[in-house]
């Protein structure tokens, strides 16, 4: 989702530059000097690898198309949020300079949209709380660790990509270069990035799981659940995070399900989208992931939904659909809460039994 120079007004670009620059400054300051010098080679080699790894095609089963890695979430899981952010900034700079992916003026916006959310939001909101939590520990330490990693990676990628896509819309609209109504623009961008985020999340979790099995000490926060920060994350916080996540995912999914928002001349976007998705990191030759995923998502909803047509009768707009999405999210959140409660209940029982 690289922003292009042309889509930004200078004032917006400057603001985003300032925001990213402040984050860079804060990151540099947070990383103690000795720590950075020791980490520098690792940061450089991993960012170079992520850069190269972004070009690997991952076949998405059942679709014939392929997904790609973006890397923010993975880098912060490996290096920590500050070092991960700096590494992403470097990757984005090299892409802007040498591959014209993004632009010089848009670099600040790109760092914010992709690196800031992926590294800081992804890490502090999802990775660290989830990995350090005791969620699922009733399943045994190893299995629980695996599930936490999958959950953190998938949710992390989905949410941070949603935030990133939203920022792209916001920045473009504020720059005044498009006639697209804000809501319609959002309605297109979020679903596409939901699919992309899911795939990226799965790839990220696969890689991190592999590391977890082979060299867990390379991952941030793993095995720290029982030490310094245990209990810092209460059940309540975890539930809140899960609920927020579910609402975002659910809202996005249902927007997604309403594949053809009427009322506007959207049909052309079918074509424009495909070119765009390529830019997003989807395979050039075989675009089709979002439609494939859309179908699947729609099919799943069709089978399981109890709100007919996922929308109110008098509304054809995507936003109308997302009300049902929110209801669905609430149910998912409820289910998640129930599962957590059950887990907590069993855990307590276990502790009691041991004592």
């Amino acid at each position: 989702m690289h922003m292009a120079d042309a889509l930004l007004a200078p004032a917006v670009a400057a603001t985003m530059y300032a925001a990213s620059a402040v984050t860079v400054g804060a990151s540099v300051k947070t990383l103690r000097k000795d720590e950075t010098t020791a980490k520098l080679p690792t940061m450089a080699v991993t960012s170079a690898l992520v850069f190269a790894g972004q070009m690997i095609n991952y076949t998405i089963p059942g679709t014939g198309s392929s997904g790609h890695l973006c890397g923010g979430m993975m880098l912060s899981a490996l290096l920590g949020p500050q070092a991960g952010f700096l590494s992403m900034v470097v990757i984005l700079t090299i892409q802007a300079l040498f591959f014209a992916d993004g632009g010089l003026l848009a670099l600040g916006a790109n760092c914010w949209n992709m690196a800031f959310y992926g590294c800081f939001v992804g890490y502090y909101l999802l990775w660290r709380p989830l990995i350090r939590s005791k969620l699922f520990s009733s399943l045994g330490e190893k299995a629980a660790g695996r599930i936490r990693i999958i959950l953190a990676s998938v949710l992390g990628c989905v949410i941070t990509l949603q935030l990133g896509a939203f920022s792209v819309v916001l920045e473009t609209s504020l720059s005044g270069v498009t006639e697209l109504p804000f809501r319609a623009f959002v309605g297109i961008m979020q679903p596409i990035h939901l699919a992309i985020g899911l795939v990226e999340g799965l790839i990220t979790s696969a890689v991190l799981l592999f590391i977890y099995e082979t060299r867990p000490e390379l991952l941030m926060d793993v095995n720290k659940a029982d030490t310094q920060l245990s209990g810092k994350l209460s059940l309540k916080t975890t539930l809140a995070i899960l609920a927020v996540t579910a609402v975002i995912v659910g809202g996005g999914l249902s927007l997604f399900a309403s594949a053809n928002p009427d009322g506007l001349e959207w049909s052309m976007f079918g074509n424009a989208e495909s070119g765009y998705s390529e830019n997003m990191g989807l395979d050039e030759e075989s675009f089709g992931i979002s439609s494939g995923a859309a179908d699947t998502a729609a099919a799943i909803q069709e089978r399981t939904a109890f709100l007919p047509d996922y929308g109110f009768a008098d509304s054809d707009m995507a936003a109308g659909t997302s009300v049902s999405g929110l209801v669905g999210s609430a149910i998912v959140a409820g289910a998640a809460a129930a599962i957590c409660m059950a887990g907590g209940f069993f855990r307590k029982k276990k502790v009691a039994a041991k004592a």
Partner: protein
């Protein structure tokens, strides 16, 4: 995996271009960086209907490409990454903005069409300018310029180190994808069963590499300092170039030169 070899050859190409000699190559990197950023900022600041004013901006890249001897064709290949998003956004404008701006015979040109075209031009122009920068300036010169702008040393060093290892990593990824595809004929990408192990293996090898790299630094007395070759100082030419370019861009932005020219002829 065509993308990998493409990336490798693109990097080689840019390196080769930056190593050539021309008056533009000889300019101070800081002056080129500032002029480029200023050019892009001015270009994108044109109002959406100001088509004629924007056209004026084509002159800088065209002249600079000629002076530096960089083939223009190469940069259009790179447009494939930027243009889709710009098009996706721009293509909606003609459908949504029906303000008639101009009557050409029986054809009415609407505001949407104009804003779409200016948007695309902005995309092309900014790309040409940044391509020109990197095609005439090596990455270490750019980093030197960034250091002059007080960008934290960690960031510029990381940039150089990463750039140094991108070639090595692209090579490793290429070798592994080749080895994979030789044993998995007919597969277009990496099968889901190998999603984790493929990059995971590479990642762990990279961690070992990073460790070796770090010992190589430590063994040579590393304590956080990097020493770079000097770049030539900012001289009169650089100052002149920056001033002339900046003045020209501002003129083009303030006065609608093509419009004035047109009205001179049309009357």
């Amino acid at each position: 995996m065509d993308k990998l070899s493409h990336a490798q050859s693109e990097l080689r190409e840019m390196d080769a271009l930056a190593a050539e000699c021309s008056p533009i190559h000889a300019l101070h990197p800081l002056c080129k960086l500032l002029v480029t950023v200023f050019y892009i900022a001015v270009t994108v600041s044109f109002p959406k209907y100001n088509f004629s004013g924007l056209v004026m901006m084509v002159l800088y890249p065209v002249i600079a490409f000629q002076v530096s001897g960089i083939p223009v064709g190469l940069c259009f290949y790179k447009l494939r990454l930027v243009l889709p998003l710009v098009c996706a956004v721009g293509l909606a404008n003609p459908f949504l903005d029906h303000t008639p701006l101009l009557q050409l015979g029986t054809i009415t040109v609407t505001g949407g069409v104009v804003s779409m075209v200016t948007l695309m031009l902005k995309g092309v122009f900014s790309l040409m300018a940044s391509f020109l920068l990197i095609a005439t300036t090596s990455i270490d010169a750019i980093c030197a310029a960034l250091r002059k702008l007080h960008v934290p040393g960690i960031l510029t060093t990381l940039l150089l180190l990463t750039y140094r290892y991108i070639g090595v990593m692209l090579e490793e990824v290429t070798v592994m994808t080749e080895a994979y595809s030789l044993r998995a004929p007919g597969q277009k990408g990496i099968h889901i069963s190998a999603w984790g192990s493929f990059l995971g293996q590479l990642l762990m090898r990279s961690m070992d590499r990073a460790e070796e790299l770090y010992s190589s630094m430590v063994l040579r007395g590393f304590n956080g300092n990097f020493f770079y070759a000097d770049i030539s100082p900012f001289c009169l030419n650089d100052l002149l170039y920056t001033a002339v370019c900046a003045a020209a861009f501002l003129c083009a932005r303030i006065f609608d030169i093509p419009g004035l020219l047109g009205s001179f002829f049309v009357g």
